[in-house]
Every structure is written in structure tokens, then in C-alpha cells.
């Protein structure tokens, strides 16, 4: 039998009470750290750990000979976490950044307001100068709540190809919200190659989880970096651009508005893409300078330097369009080498309109191309539209339009550059609307045949047409990147041959012969004949409502084994043979031989400032 320790039973209350007391103390403590004190809540986000973003290095871009077109330079942003700035030596910081107290407070306030937050990091000062960075780094321990974030900015060794390269800027709020790859303040390609190859160029951001102490000093990596991710650099791009040719073209185009596009016909690779006036791409890379420069470029409504003419300016093609007409008509069996049409300084059926110039009477097919006879191609256009195969001329017109569009005009070519325009080849319903259902016929719209009226093309499309003629019937979609990444991958859409509507090889031969004759005596571009290279060309003089005609010149060379196909357009420069043809032939020399044999032509072109109306030597056009 056990003793009943009745006098000890009271002790159960002490024990139970002790247990309850301890647990109540714990409950109070829990209430304090979980509900009352929010320091742990904040700490869980940021205090002891800092998620330091390691920005990926953007991919380099090389030209076709391996020369660097763009690389990166380190740049440093000063970041702020407003909540942690207690004890910061504000005065010293303001001194280093050369700002006053009001400005400091303004920025802190901005960093606290939506979408920023006092707990989260945001940019306090973008792209510090090297000197500021050096001084700041020395004293950063005094600036609680501030740290320096390393990024990179683009740097262009040569101030060329601004439109082609495009530029990089801060991602828009909407984009950052939609795409989790980007955080506000991140950079993204905004135009040009930077935009279309953004995914390849950007790489992948890395995250370092750093442990910081109460003094905002980084004391190490969390778990020695077990959870860190390394930044993966962007892929390099191997461009088809020839930097020397691009630079030379830009020099020649100085003082002129217009565009030049050169394509390698056998591959569709873009060799140069020039839009003038241009600007130094280096002025659009760094923070403060960027906004100033951008505003200045944007404000220049006279020259619109930000406008990429090569892809987006829709020009009437003018006489160069006769090449396509000649091909279609031959293909349809309507004309041949011997076909001659009269020319009475104009197109007789319409009372001498469109007008023509003095090239000495009616010509055969080859001669009509060389001399660019307007009357001849008015007949040709009428022949195509009114051919017997199509009782209704509208079907004939549609046939012509389809054939034209198979060369590229009127559609977006699908190049690897953003924002290209389709141009315009008017449709039959369009004319029904303008003239009424029965209010038009072939002669009403006969100026389409000579590349005028509503017809427009962008320079890239013009270059593509020449490349197609050089290839005698097919083209590769023009592209400016020939390899992505170290393995130089090329998208298969750029390896696919596109056959146009005309496959009659003899037709091409005759047209090419005509183009060659354009640089022979009696041809429109005779003055630009080269001694050692057989160039095939076609001048165009595009009438437009903006003043003097645009000078257009299409060419490829050499004749037998075409290496380069050109479209050049100089705005309001008058006759195509005067300005565009010299520029193109100079560039052909540069590309095929490395230099020109005609320094006096080079000098004349380079010194001409057509924008400001000096040194204008326009020959008349009838």
C-alpha cells in the first residue's frame, strides 16, 4: 500500500500553474514578435539577406569580317533601400553626387512611392561616372541603405549603323508587369537588331544571396552561394554587315537624306543598311546623355534622324520599276528582244503623257531599259493589263499586281529587323473606289508602269528586287544576322529560296543586258561606268509631292557572278544618274576592290550637302 501524500496534492496546482505561466509568457512573446513588432517581417524580405542581381552581359555583335560592331562597358547605378537609410551620411553623399538636400529628399520620396517601395531597392542615380563611382565605393559604408549595382552599357567602337543596331533602353512598365524576365529599370532592346534579337542578346540574370550585417555591410554569401545563380551571358551575334562598307556609305551619304541597302544576292545577307541622316549610336547609351540626345534627335523634324528610311520610308520607285514590267511582259510572251514601241517625248495614246526625255526615237527592249523610256513601258504596262488572256482588264491588272508582289513589293519581307513597312501596290478595289467601278482602264493608271502613282516601295524591297534579278528569279529573305551564338545558328526561314512569278531565264538575260547598257554610251548612267567591273544598273527618278524628284539607282555587280546588289535613294536630288549612281558605283568599288579609282567622284559626292542646297548639279529631266 502506498501512502496517500494528501498534504502534497496542493503541489499539482503549483506545477500546473507553473506550466501555464511559462506558456503564457511564450504566448505574449509570440504575440510580440509576430503581431506587434514588424522588424522580423521586414527582415524576412531584405534585412539579413540582400538579393543582389548580377546582370548578364549583353551579347556582342560582330560584322561579317569579325570586326566588333558593339560591345559592353561596365556602368554603375547607385541603388537605395529607403527603409535602411537610417544613419546615412546624407551630407557627404549629396556632395559626392553634386546634388542638394531638396533633390536628395525628392529622390528618396520617389523611391518610396509606388511602384517603388521603402523596403525594396530602386535606382537613386543612374550610370555613375567613373570618378563618382570610385569616390562612392570608398565611402559606401557610410551610406546606409545605399549600394552600387553593376550593369553594363553598350559601346560602339565605330559611330556607324545606328539605325541597324537600334538601341537599348529601360523596359516599359507594362512589359515589366507582363514578362517576369524583366524588372522595372532593366534594359531591353528597343529598336533595330537590339530589339529583334533581344531574347538571344539578353542572356539570363543571376542572383546572389548576400548576408548583410546591421551596418549594411556584406558579410558573406548565404550558404556559401549554394542558392546563387550565375548570370548567363547573352549570345554573340555574327552580322552579315560589312562595317567598312557601312562606314563608307554613311560618309558618302553625309549631307543627304536617303537610304542605301546592299544585299548579297546568293545568300540574302544584308551587307549594309544605311539611313541618312544618322547619328552616333554612342550618344544613346548612357542615362543622362541618352535623354538629352534623344530629345534633340526627336525634335529634328526637318531631317528626322531617328527615322529608319531603309526599312520604313515608302518611296515611289520610279523608273527602276520598268525592270519588273519588262520581266512580266516577256514572261507572258507579249514582248521580246525585237519589240519596238514609238516614243514622241511621251506616250502617244494619252496625248504624250507620261512624258519622256530625249533619247532618240523608238527603241528595242534592251535599249528601252538602258535609256529608260517612259513611253515604252506605258505600252508594256498596257499590254500586260489588256492582254487577250484576260477578257476583263481587271483580271489583267490583278495578274500584273500578283506578279509584282511576288518580287516583294506590297508585302513585308519578313526580315530580321523590326518595324519594316510593306510599301503599297494598289488593288483593283482601290481604283474602283477612286474612279468608280467602270471609271478606269489600263491607260488611266498607266503611270504605275513607270513606277509612279500610288506605287511605293521601301529601299529594302528595292534592293531585294535587284537581288532577285541578279539571281534570275529567286531571293532569300534579306537578313542582317548570319549566325546566332557560338554555333552560328541561322534560322531556317533565311535558308529558304523564294521563287518569284517570272522564271523565264531569257527574260532575265535581256533585262540584265539592258541594265548593263545603262552604264554604256547612250545609257542613263553612262557617266558612272567602271573600267574593271561590269555593273548592271537602272536609274530612277521618282516624282514625289515633297519637292524635287528622288534620285534612285539600283545596281548589282559584277554582271556574271553577282556579289552585291544595291538600292540607293537620295531624296529630292533630282535625276538618279547624278547622285545615286555615283554613290552606288563608289560603294561597289569599295566592296569589290577595297578602294575607288575615281577620287574626284568620291570627293564630289562627299562634299555635296544636298540638304542645305549647296553644290547642286542637277541635270534636267524632261
Amino acid at each position: 500500500m502506498s501512502i496517500n501524500n494528501s498534504h502534497l496534492t496542493d503541489r499539482k496546482y503549483f506545477i500546473g500553474g507553473f506550466f501555464i505561466l511559462i506558456i503564457l509568457i511564450y504566448a505574449v512573446r509570440l504575440f510580440y514578435i509576430q503581431v506587434v513588432d514588424d522588424q522580423y517581417q521586414i527582415a524576412s524580405d531584405s534585412n539579413a539577406f540582400r538579393y543582389q542581381t548580377e546582370y548578364a552581359v549583353r551579347g556582342y555583335i560582330f560584322d561579317r569580317k569579325g570586326k566588333l560592331l558593339v560591345f559592353n562597358e561596365p556602368s554603375y547605378d547607385l541603388m537605395i533601400i529607403p527603409r535602411e537609410t537610417k544613419g546615412c551620411d546624407t551630407l557627404a553623399l549629396c556632395e559626392i553626387l553634386d546634388i542638394n538636400k531638396e533633390e536628395y529628399l525628392k529622390r528618396v520620396k520617389k523611391a518610396c512611392q509606388h511602384p517603388n517601395s521603402p523596403r525594396k531597392e530602386s535606382i537613386f542615380e543612374k550610370q555613375l561616372s567613373q570618378e563618382t563611382y570610385a569616390v562612392l565605393q570608398e565611402k559606401i559604408y557610410r551610406f546606409n541603405g545605399f549600394f552600387v549595382q553593376k550593369r553594363t552599357v553598350r559601346k560602339y567602337p565605330r559611330p556607324i549603323a545606328a539605325h541597324l543596331m537600334g538601341y537599348v533602353g529601360e523596359v516599359s512598365k507594362e512589359k515589366a508587369k507582363k514578362d517576369s524576365t524583366y524588372k522595372e529599370g532593366d534594359y531591353i532592346g528597343i529598336s533595330g537588331i537590339e530589339k529583334s534579337y533581344e531574347e538571344e542578346l539578353r542572356g539570363k540574370k543571376g542572383i546572389q544571396i548576400q548576408i548583410t550585417d546591421v551596418n549594411n555591410k556584406v558579410v558573406g554569401r548565404y550558404k556559401d552561394g549554394k542558392y546563387d545563380t550565375l548570370a548567363i551571358p547573352g549570345k554573340p551575334l555574327y552580322s552579315s554587315i560589312d562595317a567598312d562598307l557601312q562606314e563608307y556609305g554613311e560618309l558618302l551619304m553625309r549631307g543627304k537624306k536617303g537610304a542605301i541597302v546592299a544585299i548579297e544576292p546568293s545568300t540574302g545577307e544584308i551587307l549594309c543598311l544605311i539611313s541618312s541622316p544618322s547619328y552616333d549610336p554612342n550618344i544613346l547609351v548612357s542615362g543622362k546623355e541618352r535623354s538629352r540626345s534623344f530629345a534633340k534627335l526627336y525634335a529634328d523634324t526637318e531631317n528626322v534622324p531617328l527615322f529608319n528610311r531603309a526599312l520604313t520610308a515608302m518611296y515611289p520607285p520610279g523608273s527602276i520599276f520598268k525592270l519588273i514590267d519588262a520581266l512580266i511582259a516577256q514572261n507572258d510572251g507579249l514582248i521580246n528582244r525585237g519589240t519596238v514601241y514609238p516614243c514622241a517625248m511621251g506616250y502617244p495614246p494619252m496625248g504624250g503623257k507620261p512624258k519622256c526625255h530625249a533619247h532618240g526615237g523608238g527603241r528595242d527592249l534592251v535599249g528601252s531599259i538602258a535609256a529608260s523610256c517612259n513611253s515604252y513601258y506605258s505600252y508594256v504596262f498596257r499590254d500586260i493589263v489588256d492582254q487577250k488572256k484576260y477578257p476583263d482588264f481587271k483580271d489583267g491588272y490583278n495578274h500584273w499586281r500578283d506578279m509584282v508582289m511576288s518580287f516583294g513589293p506590297g508585302t513585308r519581307l519578313g526580315t530580321d529587323l523590326p518595324y519594316d513597312k510593306p510599301g503599297n501596290v494598289p488593288s483593283a478595289p482601290y481604283y474602283d473606289k477612286v474612279f468608280g467601278k467602270n471609271g478606269w482602264r489600263s491607260n488611266t493608271i498607266v503611270s504605275l508602269g513607270i513606277g509612279q502613282a500610288e506605287l511605293t516601295l521601301v529601299p529594302l524591297q528595292m534592293a531585294n528586287v535587284v537581288a532577285t534579278i541578279a539571281n534570275k528569279g529567286f531571293y532569300y529573305t534579306p537578313h542582317c544576322i548570319k549566325g546566332v551564338g557560338k554555333e552560328k545558328h541561322l534560322d531556317k526561314r533565311f535558308k529558304e529560296k523564294h521563287y518569284v512569278g517570272v522564271q523565264n531565264q531569257e527574260a532575265y538575260n535581256i533585262v540584265i543586258e539592258g541594265m548593263q547598257h545603262a552604264l554604256e554610251p547612250g545609257g542613263t548612267a553612262f557617266a558612272n561606268r567602271l573600267k574593271d567591273i561590269v555593273v548592271c544598273g537602272k536609274t530612277g527618278t521618282a516624282e514625289n509631292p515633297h519637292g524635287k524628284s528622288h534620285a534612285v539607282f539600283l545596281a548589282f555587280a559584277p554582271m556574271d557572278n553577282p556579289k552585291i546588289a544595291f538600292a540607293c535613294i537620295v531624296e529630292n536630288a533630282g535625276f538618279g544618274g547624278v547622285w545615286s549612281a555615283p554613290i552606288v558605283t563608289l560603294m561597289i568599288e569599295k566592296y569589290l576592290k577595297g578602294k575607288t579609282d575615281r577620287p574626284e567622284v568620291e570627293k564630289r559626292v562627299m562634299e555635296a550637302d544636298l540638304i542645305h542646297g549647296q553644290n547642286l548639279l542637277s541635270t534636267g529631266f524632261h
Partner: protein, 435 residues
Amino acid sequence: MQSRNQNSLFYGVDRVSIMLYVVMVIMGWLNIYAAVYNDEHSNILDMTQKYGKQLIWISGAAILAFSILLIDSDFFTAFSYVFYGVLLFANILVRFIGREIKGSHSWLGVGGFGIQPAEFMKFAMSLALAKFLSNQQIAVNQIFRLRIKDIIKNYKNTFIALAIIIVPLILVKKLQDETGLAIVFIAFIIVLYREGLSVSFLMIGMLIAILFVVALVVANTSAVLISLGILALSSFIIVPRNRRNLLIVSLVYLLAAGVVLGANFMYQKLEPHQKDRIDVLLNKKTDLKGVGYNVNQAKIAIGSGGFLGKGYLQGTQTKYDFVPEQETDFIFCTVGEEWGFVGSIGVVFLELFLILRVIFLAERQRSSFSRIYGYGVASVLFFHLAVNIGMTIGLMPVIGIPLPFFSYGGSSLWSFTILLFIFIKLDANRLLILR
């Protein structure tokens, strides 16, 4: 007794305790899932993951519980000392045949599963203490006199009881290097107190503990000794100045000085990491990366839960492994972060309810064996609860002991299950047995 089902397994079994037990084990399992959750193995039954393994442990625990309910309660009373002896032996043996895990020699195991004999010492010790104390005419003496002869005579039983506790404690600490497992045995002091351990005895113990802490907090030992001396001298203002009192005061002073010097001596002898733990708790050191790291991260995880928590599986602190040992000793962090204040309080109160329920059941026992055993259960559970939660919220030093029924681990779950269900069985048979 009049029930037709008196032979049934659940006859007389306390349903409240069992319900609390089941609820806590399931909650524990869900929290282990949340603590070690990763996307690649999102199936809670995935046996390669700790939550899958825990299910095996839970199944084992269920089998253990049913088996205990099947066994006659006389078995436990009769074999109390045998259990104690066998486990004491196992705890010595483990040093030599056990495997070494992270520098401790406490594991016996096969394959991926291991068992810590020290965990099972708890119920054996409860049984042995219950057996020993229930057999005594006067269980533990409570009169306090300052005569060595009397002390030995009157406190013989007290010392034996203390020895039952302290011998395994030293063995586990010294042989297995398991401070956490060893220190739990101190909880049995509560049992001794209930059974009559004198308050003076406890007071002296407490005073020694306070002196100990003071000695550690105040770096200047001589200053402490001088202060104690002044305190001793000033005591003569109150007590009559005679030889006897002088002797007593001198003895007390020497004892106190001994404690102070001993504390410093022991502190010097501690391992560096143990020193650090004490320093951090006493605020002598703030090192958020090193030793303070665990505690700080635990506090951040729990504190960031707020009132209602971040939601199940939504805890960033626990998910990203910021908290170490978060599925075992720091499981409460997951509770705190994902279930917030409401969940934390819920869990703490569930544990407390079970402990109070056990005390309530213990007090209604007719046999002092069952009562003493019940207090053993309550004390062990409470010690675990208080130390485990206390360390996660920064009120206790970091001592690696599990939160009963919640923490991952087979040994602890099984040991708590055995501990509790033996008592439930004893309680179920309380009316049948009269000893």
C-alpha cells in the same frame, strides 16, 4: 467495470488524450511536408523524402500504440527496472556499436533508418522512478536540517531518486555527446517535487542556478566575489552576530564562491560552440551569421508569419532553407511562418492541453505508481515544449531537442508515443488495479 466492452481495446481509454495525440501527429506530418517541400517531389507519399519517411514512422507509432493498449498494465509495473536496466545498457553499448552522425554517438541503425536509445530512456526512467518512489514509505523527505548525518539518513531516498535521473544523464552526455537528449532528464525534478522534494532543496538549486548565470554574465569574477562578500557581511545587520551564524554565513559564502568559480571553470571547459550559444543567449555576443544565425533566422521566420501567417506551403523563409533543422528541432518555424500567430498559439495550446490533461489524469489515479508515471510523462512533454519553443523564439539557448509529435524523426515520435500510451493504458486500468 460494468461495461460489456471491458475487454475491448479501448475500454476506459482517455479519448481526449488520444484525440489530441492524433491531431498533433497529423499536423506535424503536414508541417514536415511544408518544411522540406520541393517541387520535384510534391507527392506527400514520396518515400525518398522526409515526409514520406515520416509516414512510415507514424505507421510504426500506431502499431506501437495499439500494442501497448493490448498489453496488461501489470507488465509495465513489473518490468520497470528491467526496462530501465536494458536501456541503460543500450545507452552504454551505443557508444561502441553505434554509428557516428555529426559527431554524436547516439544512433543505432539499419539502412536509412536510425534509432536513438537515449530517446527511449525517458519512458524507462519514468517507469523506474514510479516504481522506486511508489515503494517508499516516505517517498522524498522534505525536512531540511543542516546536519550531515541527518541529511544522509533523511535524504537517502532522495539521493537514490536523483541517481536514477543523473546516472543516465551523465552517460548520455559523456558517452554519446548528446547534450539535448541528456538535459531532458532534468525534467524529472518536477516529478520529485510533486512527490515531496523539499522546497528548500529546489530553492538552493535555483539559487545556485542564478549565481551560475550571474557568474557568466559578469565577466569580472573578482567583482562578483567581492559583491557576494559585502552581501554576506551585511547579512549580520539582520542576523545576530554569534559564532554559529558566522560559521553558517561563512559556509554559504564559500559555497557561493565555489559556484561562481565553478561556473567560470566549467565555462572555460565548454566547447567553443557551446560557449557561443550561451554568449548569444546572454546577449554577450550578437553574431547573426554564426551561432546567432539559427536563432535569428528562426525568429525571422516566425515573426514574418504575422497574425494569420503566409498560408500553407507559402513560407519563403522555411521553403528556401533559411532556417536550419527546420523539419526537426525548428519545425515550429514552419508553423509560425505559414500559420501565423493563430497557428503558433494553437499548436502551443494543443501541447499544453495534452500536458494538463495528463496531470489531470495522473491526479485521479489510485495507485501512486500511475500518478508518478503520469507526472513523468507531463514533465518530459513540458520540458520539450518549453525548451523547443523557447529556443525558436529566443528565450532559451539552442538545445537540440524535438517538439513532441511535430518534429521529424522516428525515435522521438516512437518514444513519445510509448511514453504517452503506457500512461493511457495505466489510466484505462486505474479502476482494476489497486496497489
